[in-house]
Symmetry: C2
Subunit: 190 residues, 2 copies
């Protein structure tokens, strides 16, 4: 297997609980698939965009489906500055003690007490990918990106799951810093 990892950029987005979906989009509302993503079962939603409101400003926000146990908002530091909050760099789901936000939808709004994070860069892969690439779940690796603005991302966490598709996820700031526009591939270096 070639050491060649698709690098995908995640713009700011929310994962919503089923309860949040109903408050924001109305009783009985569900998340509607607009486009399936590289991670099997995950999708960009066709539902109307939400608005997130922080102490300093507000931003439009896309939603990814399906619904999850807890509502979480993944931002870049650029986004966070515009909102006036200071989220930590965290892995998805690890939201204890992170800043809250107001989320406004077409049918209602919620105030989350925590859940705003800057996603720690990571690589999704299957156990077969991991074996072929010689890495293991939770391993920290470096990933070299060779673009018009080449760099080596350090502290990239490997996440192994049979339901994953092989892809590295970075945020929009990281994408801009690396000129990782379009179809870009990285290489794991140790």
């Amino acid at each position: 297997m070639e050491n060649k990892i698709l690098v995908e950029t995640s713009a700011r987005h929310a994962h919503l609980s089923a309860e949040a979906v109903e408050i924001l989009y109305g009783k009985g509302a569900e998340l509607i698939v607009k486009k399936m993503l590289s991670q099997p079962g995950q999708f960009a939603c066709a539902n109307e965009k939400l608005t997130i409101v922080g102490p300093k400003g507000s931003l439009a926000l896309s939603v990814l489906g399906p619904a999850r146990p807890a509502t979480q908002v993944e931002l870049s530091f650029s986004d966070a500055r515009a909102l006036g909050i200071t989220p930590p760099v965290r892995e998805s789901g690890d939201v204890a003690g992170t800043p809250g936000l107001k989320i406004v939808g077409p049918a209602g709004e919620i105030e989350i007490n925590e859940g705003a994070i800057v996603a720690k860069r990571h690589i999704h892969m299957t156990p077969d990918d991991a074996e072929a690439l010689g890495v293991s779940d939770k391993e920290i690796v470096k990933v070299k990106i060779d673009t018009a603005r080449p760099l080596i991302f350090d502290d990239v966490v490997v996440r192994v799951n049979p339901n994953f598709g092989l892809a590295m996820h970075i945020d929009t700031d990281e994408c801009n810093a690396a000129c990782a526009f379009g179809a870009v591939y990285g290489e794991i270096v140790k």
Copy 2:
């Protein structure tokens, strides 16, 4: 000499020609020092901020002094996207064929036909610094940043001049990608 380079983040800014200063701020106007910067003679201006206007949006813009032979606007890719332009990554002064912009000041406005760039990351240093660090003018090096979001910037150009102060300059996207907030130092790696 320790291999320890101060990493400074340049937010979007303009360098203006003397002619542009007079059009934007009024006949006889000059750039006023607000704060001296790490590069000797260079300063942040106390003059009112300008507005840059692109096809998709506008942004407030700080000015750095003193005036230069040609007007130039240094942006991040985040800024460029908000404006609706696609500048290349270039070294300061190398603006041939880059996108133009409208620049609006309190006394007038100018339309530049070229001059919008995303600054290529670089390290300013004196000949003594270069000798001590074992690098030379125009050399391309890597710089390792050890922060909460560590990475190694590749394709960093060394710029040697007796009038420089030792500092690496990155833009706001690169700063966010590296969590290079506050007083951060990098290390040249080859």
